[in-house]
Symmetry: C2
Subunit: 137 residues, 2 copies
DNA sequence: AGATGTTACGGAGACCGTAATTATG
DNA sequence: CATAATTACGGTCTCCGTAACATCT
């Protein structure tokens, strides 16, 4: 293969690329990214150079995405979204750090079936939780 | 929320993080990333600062990953892998560039159901393909 | 001593912002 | 003319590498 499009890439440029693909306008993109508009232009030049494609061509109202850019955006945008949520959620739920009281709504039928194992699991995973109140619905 | 762990992150650091998690040794990581070993140390400091966790603690033979680091690696490593393959493969399959003859194996039952639309699709997406031979199985 | 990670320090380069320029309607 | 992108240019700030230090077996 010619060269690795991943290893040699400044990953931060992908953020700019995605925003640019959403906005199709450098000024708007620059506002969303809190940088100047020429900074976006330079970033796009780097992206073009890296991928060997124009990616976005100048038009009347702003930019038009090339087919390559569309495919690229379509494939990497969900990945970046997933990365974003993973980074932000990974830390937010740690049962070990839970304490106080938690309340769970449950139907009587389910309750009789799983209440015991549920209590066990909570006691194990979140030892600092004082008690769990189960509300019937 | 306190702060966004994605937006404010230098994504390139994640590459260092993954390698570091694989090697558990700054010297080896530095070799794989073609940088000096102190550069890795600094990068790790930035990672620690960003995530608010030690991530790797010094030991006799190198480094030991914290639980946080393990969870982080476990969750983001497949995402980065996917990003890597996507970037490198996205360009490799372009139906427009296909030519010659393609062969497709298909059961008679399926054949009768989709043969027509299949031919149509191929003709449209890959106009340079001369013919498609469908082999019954 | 030999391996490790950390700190200090100086320099090179990347990146940005302001301003001027070009292109396009 | 108005809006948008590109280029020029100067400055800063990040990041790296060399070297010195610290720690551990």
């Amino acid at each position: 293969m010619a060269k690795d499009l991943f290893s040699n890439l400044d990953l931060n440029l992908l953020r700019t690329f995605i925003i640019l693909h959403q906005e199709r306008n450098m000024r708007k993109a620059s506002e969303r990214l809190f940088v100047s508009q020429p900074a976006i232009s330079k970033a796009l030049q780097r992206l073009r150079d890296h991928f060997g494609d124009e990616l976005f061509v100048k038009t009347h109202h702003g930019l038009r995405a090339t087919e390559y850019a569309n495919q690229l955006a379509e494939s990497i945008s969900p990945i970046l979204d997933e990365l974003s949520s993973t980074l932000n959620e990974s830390n937010e739920f740690n049962p070990q750090e839970l304490d106080g009281v938690i309340k769970i709504a449950l139907s009587p039928f389910l309750l009789s079936a799983i209440a015991n194992s549920l209590f066990q699991a909570i006691r194990t995973e979140a030892p600092n939780v004082q008690s769990a109140i189960i509300k019937l619905v």
